[in-house]
Symmetry: D4
Subunit: 223 residues, 8 copies
């Protein structure tokens, strides 16, 4: 498993990452991570690999596009000195073109998306041990849907940049498509953008698989 002992793992993104992390917490350590996939990532890491003492930090902000994420990158990402950073951004870059088509100030074009991401990557790579790029996904099973097609276009940019910069890459669309062989999209999400707890587990699983997580690791055992 790639995260070494005492690593700090910081997760960046939009509402899918944020998922109510600023809500009044129920108890002291529980909800600092929100209720989305970051919580699952820490619960899985810490229950399987407690000997690693990994710290997971959620810095997602609801509504973010790659443009607004870029604006807060310096302040929000490097202060806790992460060893690893993951980024899941882009669905709002796309969505605003479909749900608020007449508010162009909120749209982010593919070219800008690529440029924003490259800036994030280049700023980050020199400061961390590892970077994970997660591609945006849309829980629309119809492959001809315009918004799905556009989302796949943005996801392809992520994949391409991951190769160019040799970072870890996580493609999520295929994971969700597999699930939709058994369930309608409505069973996971009403708006096809925000996954429920099952979807959060799918994201956590894909992310952990990408960094070499062993699902049968015995706590305290040699790797």
């Amino acid at each position: 498993m790639k995260l070494e002992k005492n690593s700090v793992f910081l997760l960046q993104g939009d509402s899918i990452t944020d998922f109510y992390r600023t809500e009044p917490p129920i108890n002291a350590q529980w909800h600092l991570l929100g209720r989305g996939y970051p919580q699952y990532v820490e619960a899985l890491l810490d229950s399987r690999y407690p000997e690693r003492h990994i710290r997971v930090i959620n810095r997602g902000v609801s509504g973010d596009t790659s443009k607004t994420l870029k604006a807060r990158w310096q302040a929000d990402t490097f202060e806790p000195r992460p060893d690893w950073v993951s980024i899941l951004i882009g669905i709002n870059d796309v969505w605003r073109q479909f749900d608020l088509p007449m508010e162009p100030e909120l749209h982010v074009s593919p070219a800008d998306y690529r440029r924003n991401l490259e800036e994030l990557i280049e700023t980050t790579l020199p400061k961390v041990k590892g970077l994970v790029l997660m591609a945006p996904f849309y829980m629309e099973p119809n492959r001809d849907d315009a918004m799905r097609r556009m989302t796949e276009q943005y996801a392809a940019i992520v994949r391409e940049l991951a190769q160019k910069y040799q970072t870890v890459f996580v493609g999520l669309q295929a994971e969700f498509d597999r699930y939709f062989q058994f369930y309608n999209t409505n069973a996971m999400s009403w708006d096809r953008v925000h996954p429920n707890h099952v979807g959060a587990m799918i994201i956590a699983r894909a992310l952990l698989d990408a960094i070499g997580f062993d699902w049968n690791h015995v706590p305290g055992a040699e790797d």
Copy 2:
């Protein structure tokens, strides 16, 4: 994995099971299961075995002892016609003897605990395909602590009844003890009774392991 296609799996217990399940939900399907281990159980089952279409139901009630659980058993357990039922009860039977020592009306003795459990088991076995008995645990690493010793006494009763009635048994104390080799109990719980999300994952993992869950199962694959 023991749960067959279209199974209904009902989880009974106290606040560790309940975990805010009646709080206003954030979205429609997400929080009906609360924020404790039942949510993790469903997220893991459904993301790994979507082809099974398993329905998980949380019926935990905060503050319950085996005595109050018995009083609501008929009304709360059988109406949704579960195929499998799990029970995690007993820590309040013990705790009240320590935190409210002068309110004996709230205490449940080992003998009463055994009697209550047996009644639950005998009422339930004829109506279900499988029953899981989970033993209470106390996140106190000191094995000489009086409340830990008493909790282990109650846990032993559960183990004994599981053998007598040939049900699935889940012992949790050892799972938590292993974790406390790496972390202080305060990192998981301030009151040593309510686990955080990592503890919820430990419970979910132990429960799923006990019913044959394969952590590397590919969704849709033959078992």
Copy 3:
């Protein structure tokens, strides 16, 4: 225009009709009709045909299926002695089969849907001057989508019953499909079930067209 002077026109349905009608009203006469299409129906009727003095009553209840609507029909529909009644029901009968597939107690089959509707119609026809049956719709532009196909199946039942009982019929799917030639579904609805204010106007327009509303009628003029 078919509604005669002093007519009472009662609109029945689910959340699309209800649309927050029980929320604390802003002022005395304004919000008794909620914020959905019923408000638009009254605003259009009363601003174009004030000389008719038509009373519009909203009795929609969020979450209703044809089954729960039937259960409250006697109590909720006839007490204000309506002259005309409209019904828009069915999307929840369908939706629950997709978003809560493992809770069959919430599903309504096509056969039951037909039976429920027929009972409503037969109970109502003897007591009113006119009945309007509105067909459920789903704001999914993909005609191959499973939930859209099922919704169309339920809509066809409504159309058939409207013919059988010679009531006014309002088909809404085509109206929305026309709109989606120009906008993505996300611009009107995130869940593809609840239309925004533009969709409410589309419903109001279709309903009023079906009862002979003249958009250029001058208030007070002879028809």
Copy 4:
């Protein structure tokens, strides 16, 4: 219809325009326009002319007089680069002289009203394709009422300025007077200043008529 494809139409005014637009929205796209006539304007434009892709923006502020509107004009009007602007202001300039007669700091005289409006018009005309001036109205059917007479004096100023600057003009008093042939003013408004939903539709209709809206336009058809 005068609004061309992709036009931005910005509506300025007081509480009649504002109508709770800053209240927590019910869903994402629905209530950004408040619950008054601006919502009706967009719903009618977008349901009849979706091919035009017109963006409607509500910038009304409750309590505004022409004096306070002038103070926020630059900041509040031009930033979204409107193609068309409408203004409905003046009833508070009048009302404060009647309901708070001993607070002269809140009154706006006819001369100041004219001066304020002219400044708004002259600042705006060079920057937009069209300007609509709507005259204030008072839902008092008694033509001898002092406040109605004063309101008509302010409305006459608007009409005069519309002619002088060759803008579109919308007179609303006659529209409401026609309605009051059939209903008492109390049926529309308790304070005779804030119209209910029927009055909002009357305003929307008059505004749309003034810019050539065709009520029978078929979505997507050639004009």
Copy 5:
């Protein structure tokens, strides 16, 4: 002054009497009387005639018509054994005919108004030392207004019944008309139904004048 030592004086009516009497009180004795004219009546009686020890009770209920007042008369009026009772009812009997014209179930005709009042009077007279009938009023200075004319018709019924049953009578319309020689109606009320604190004082003054209150009475002096 007609109220003898230790008298209980109970004031009945609608929202003009009620005026928030059930709102959380600020301190113990202060707000049991609401914030309308009943508070002024007690403050004036008790500050001028403390030696009389008169108890004032407010039993107004917002929204009441003579019909709903009659329904609660027995339960709400006689239990505290009043010596004197005053009644101010009727404006809602009239108002509903104008603001909710199509909801006839809320209207009370002149004949029903007379019948309701007579029943109240006949039930009450045998049980009290004095009865005060206050006539409804409408703060509309235009004497030709339809709702004012109807209110005056109802007020005439009160006057007539006061003569028939020889009770104290208080006519309020003239008192308000005198005030409107100096102020516009908007300065006292936006809806022309609910008076502000100046109007409450006008009502209190007229009521106290009718029962022989001496404005220059010295506390403790012989009458």
Copy 6:
């Protein structure tokens, strides 16, 4: 009556004057004056002398002593350009010496009280037509009580300054003492500092008597 037509009358003081004036108002003109004696002053002035068009302004602030009042005097008193000003201050200067005896920073000595008042008076006299000094009072009927004796000492300072500067003076202690011949102090106040509505009327009456108010003045009549 000393207040001329169109006078502005500003009332300054502590919580007895303030009396919840900043609470959310019930309706637009009603509660800007709070619920204490200022409201009664306006209601009496305006219902008896509407032809004078007098504006009453409440600027009391709960908790004020003469020291804190002095600190906000310039900003809070002169901006609305009052013709007459009244001041009721001092009970907190005294009370803090009894209820918070060990917090000397909150106490105001008689010498400081006199100095503070003189500064207020000298700053104000040149700017107004009339000044009313009201003396603090304590609703303790026992004349030997230490706090009552101290309050009387402070009241004597007010009386003395009123004579020195030839302002209107209002002594309230005697008015309340007269009331307590008939009622226990508990019937008016639990803390003996804050009067209820009857006490507010006693203050309003004494204040109005001091400026020549005629209780039998007929609205609109020559004086």
Copy 7:
């Protein structure tokens, strides 16, 4: 110390005993006793005599008089099977005669007070090991004050009944009078009825002294 090991000590009374005991508790064991003298009684008993394991129960109800206390005595006192009971009641029996003099239905005469108390005592004595009667007090230092004199009359009845029935008696007036040699009554209470935390300690001390509490007892030591 008279309370034996494992005793249950139940404290009955009005708001002085209740003191917010039903407010949402801050944590589990802390506030079940409210914030008045009962909390102090338990804190002192349990910190000095932990070896006795005494359970303290607060059953005070705000607003109670001896009359309303009697009405709930059976239900509220005996169910937890107390060994010792204390009663502090009567100040409301007196207070209502002074603060609500015209509401005789709320007053309790000395004769009724005696009768009510005797009934409580006779019902209770056979069921308990010890009974403590605490006399009401009024924090008015003026011994000629009417309400103080009446309170002392009621206190004398308590003393007399304590002698007649040979119960423990606690007189509190003298304790408070001693305090008022050093502080004004306002430093302890604004209404002279509800003591602050210092007064709560005075009550707790007097009560504990009366049952033989040793302030220098060492926890665990032989008595």
Copy 8:
């Protein structure tokens, strides 16, 4: 007793001292001290030694470590000019190392703890008559527990500094250990850090004993 007449005694610390002192107070003088041991200290001092007129001030802040306490020391401690100061700090310095082990920015090492305390002491001694150093404690009866051992290490530093600087010292661990001979730790605290009211009394008692408090002192008597 060491506190002289008119002394100001200021208590500094973390949440154990703070204990909700900023919560909305129930009445004016009662809750300025919070609900923890400071309230008990004042209640005991003032009820036994009212002739001393001692002022107790609570300045505890929840969550404080010696590091954050140091940062606010100047602003929070000296402004009310205390004669005596007590400090109870350190449990959070320890606890964060156990409950948030991976957030080192929140930890305070023994060396830093000593340094912080010395700075507080040296800054304070020249300005006060007396200083009380209270040692942190952990309500864990198991002497081998890691967090208890570390707490004792920090407590030893306090004891050592008290000797070095010749201040009053209060050791609390032994007091609590004595209590736990009779009760389980759960009866006093769920998290073993925050004591309930019995624990607050134990702290108050130890603090008062350390400054020579006589539990049998008669108010007003010579010492």
